[in-house]
């Protein structure tokens, strides 16, 4: 239950104007959902932040040599070690603070928050062992996973985060297979199994909820994990203007429920809590699927079973979360 920090809309624009964190002119595709997540991280800051960014869309689009869109200290690391480098930054900060270095210096601050930023490829598949290691060592950092459900910047290859039935270039739609035959990896379950103090899911469409969760992640003493849902109009074959609509629909159909896990206790938040209390507000998953070109083959009459299977998987996942949630 995200409490405490309440963003003041009258003060946020001034705060973002003075210290934007991320500049205009980065080269994300038009309508990029992940770029909205970056802005929301910047809006939720309480201190200066240092970012370790794994290879992925947000690394590629923000720092095309010699330009950079970042106004915060930022380091590009390889696909697999965003969490390991963030752990090192955290250890370095602790050492500097203990040694009292730069304590009299007005221009240099050694009091900052550490953020590891990685896409779904860098978290689900390649960076999982570094993430697991950093969580086990209990480093004080926030890991933000922006999930656009495939390797988008290299050309839409499937990842562990790709949902059932989605078309990608490596899971094409043909006679043998129709999109990805397997399901999405339950990454939050894996992360929560480390018994970390804070984990949450975030949809940029519900931005007050998102800002509260990012702020909670910053305030957590110890590792925090945020799973953010980033719509990718290019890879999902959607209209650029539908980005926020899809972020909303994913939550309303319970495909991507919003919840937070505090010390292994599950709490539903925002719109997902409303749906849990009034089950008739839950929308059929078809509404979410039919907007996207990557699920176009599912809309054909002979592939109706895929929509039903998708709905089954979503319901199954939702039931599991309802059973776990403490506040329903």
């Amino acid at each position: 239950m995200a409490k405490g920090f309440v963003p003041n809309i009258k003060q946020l624009p001034k705060f973002m104007k003075e210290d934007p964190g991320i500049l205009q002119g980065h080269r994300a595709c038009a309508g990029c959902g992940c770029a909205i997540i970056l802005r929301q991280i910047m809006m939720a800051r309480r201190k200066p932040i240092v970012i370790a960014n794994a290879t992925g869309c947000m690394e590629v689009v923000t720092t095309i040599f010699p330009y950079t869109a970042w106004r915060t200290p930022w380091i590009h690391v390889a696909f697999e070690n965003a969490a390991a480098v963030a752990a090192g930054i955290d250890a370095g900060r602790n050492k500097l603070q203990r040694a009292g270095r730069f304590s009299g210096d007005k221009d240099i601050s050694v009091d900052y928050d550490v953020v590891a930023l990685a896409g779904d490829g860098g978290t689900y598949d390649i960076g999982l062992q570094a993430l697991s290691g950093a969580l086990e060592r209990w480093h004080n950092f926030m890991y933000v996973l922006y999930d656009n459900e495939a390797y988008m910047n290299t050309g839409i290859q499937r990842s562990g985060g790709t949902p059932f039935g989605a078309w990608t270039t490596t899971t094409p739609v043909g006679k043998k297979i129709k999109g990805k035959p397997l399901t999405k990896k339950p990454i939050v379950d894996i992360v929560v199994a480390h018994r970390i103090p804070y984990a949450a899911t975030v949809s940029p469409a519900y931005w007050v909820d998102a800002l509260k969760k990012f702020r909670k992640g910053f305030e957590t003493e110890g590792p925090a994990f945020i799973h953010a849902y980033g719509v990718c109009p290019r890879g999902w074959r959607t209209d650029t203007k539908d980005t926020i609509k899809l972020s909303k629909l994913a939550v309303e159909t319970c495909f991507f429920p919003l919840y937070e896990v505090i010390n292994s206790e599950w709490y539903l938040t925002g719109p997902s809590l409303t749906i849990a209390k009034n089950p008739d507000r839950k929308k059929p998953v078809e509404e979410y699927l039919k907007l996207q070109g990557r699920f176009r083959h599912m809309m054909l009459p002979e592939n109706k079973w895929m929509v039903e299977k998708f709905q089954e998987l979503v319901d199954e996942n939702w039931e599991i979360i309802l059973k776990r949630a403490k506040n329903v």
Binding site: I9, K10, Q11, L12, P13, K14, M16, K17, P20, I22, L23, Q24, G25, H26, R27, A28, C29, A30, G31, C32, G33, A35, I36, R39, Q40, T62, T63, I64, F65, P66, Y67, T68, A69, P204, A205, W207, P233, D239, T240, K241, D242, T243, I244, K245
Partner: protein, 88 residues
């Protein structure tokens, strides 16, 4: 070969120009035009713009910066009072 500390390791590539020098505004086909009379100053367009292209101080009517706007149309779609129109 002498021992090298971390201070002697060559520095990796450092981007040294601000991305604001690169104008992404010429990507767009449609540009958003905000109707100041209809606008209720809710800030939805400002929050949801992926390119930080809507400039807003919190009090006045938000203004799109056409140098960086990529014309995705999220602002027009999410405006609760339909004050934003996409014009070619």
């Amino acid at each position: 070969m002498s021992k090298r500390g971390w201070r002697e390791i060559p520095i990796a590539g450092i981007p040294f120009l601000k991305s604001t020098e690169y104008h992404t505004g010429d990507w767009k086909v449609f540009r958003p035009v905000i109707d100041g009379e209809k606008c209720i100053k809710c800030g939805n367009c400002w929050v949801f713009c992926p390119d930080s292209a809507i400039e807003w101080d919190g009090d006045s009517v938000p203004e799109p910066n056409y140098d960086y706007c990529k014309g995705c149309g999220i602002c027009a779609e999410e405006c609760p009072v339909n004050a934003i129109e996409m014009v070619r």
